[in-house]
Symmetry: C2
């Protein structure tokens, strides 16, 4: 889903639904799982890729860049050879963890695992 605006009739009353704003941030296919894996510790790019076995580099990069744009994730580049890049949650990212947690609890409580 694209970053969607919830617009009233054009030009009339543009308004953003706050819940939708939240939704947009975590809407990428892998974003939630990335946040989950970063919730406990800082991780390197390759580490994340191993944790997400079916993701390709390009996609992982894009998802991380978008989370970075939204200031959920911090990217720390070490100028070494070979390169080393570490990803971690920003304060904003950490502040979102309770919601992630409650989504998980809700799922386990109410959704029959299909």
């Amino acid at each position: 889903m694209a970053r969607s605006w919830f617009t009233q009739p054009p030009e009339e009353h543009k308004e953003v639904c706050p819940v939708t704003q939240t939704q947009d941030i975590i809407a990428g296919k892998w974003k939630i799982i990335i946040l989950w894996h970063l919730s406990t510790k800082t991780r390197r790019f390759n580490e994340l890729q191993r944790l997400l076995p079916n993701i390709s580099k390009g996609i992982l990069t894009r998802q991380l860049r978008e989370l970075e744009e939204d200031q959920m994730v911090h990217r720390e580049v070490y100028k070494e050879v070979p390169p080393k890049v570490e990803y971690s949650l920003t304060p904003l990212g950490k502040s979102f963890l309770p919601i992630l947690h409650s989504m998980g609890e809700w799922s386990k409580k109410y959704l029959k695992s299909k």
Copy 2:
């Protein structure tokens, strides 16, 4: 986003991330706003369409059907002429409202409105 499974290497350790399961349910472009409009009261099809000015009938129907499949929304058909259909939240749908609310609060608290 499609209903995505978080799979370990094929055939090896299929597992569904609970948080992702939750995400999948509300991932449709209009689902959150539909749930929002149903949170206070039962509404008819046309009423929902008026509340969501930029949605087409086909899409609204599809979003509602998917919410119904996921048992978030109940569809009550009155056998009248002209037809009358009412949508309301199921108990499952209602149980989700606190999360919707906390997503909204998080957004308003931490996200600078762009």
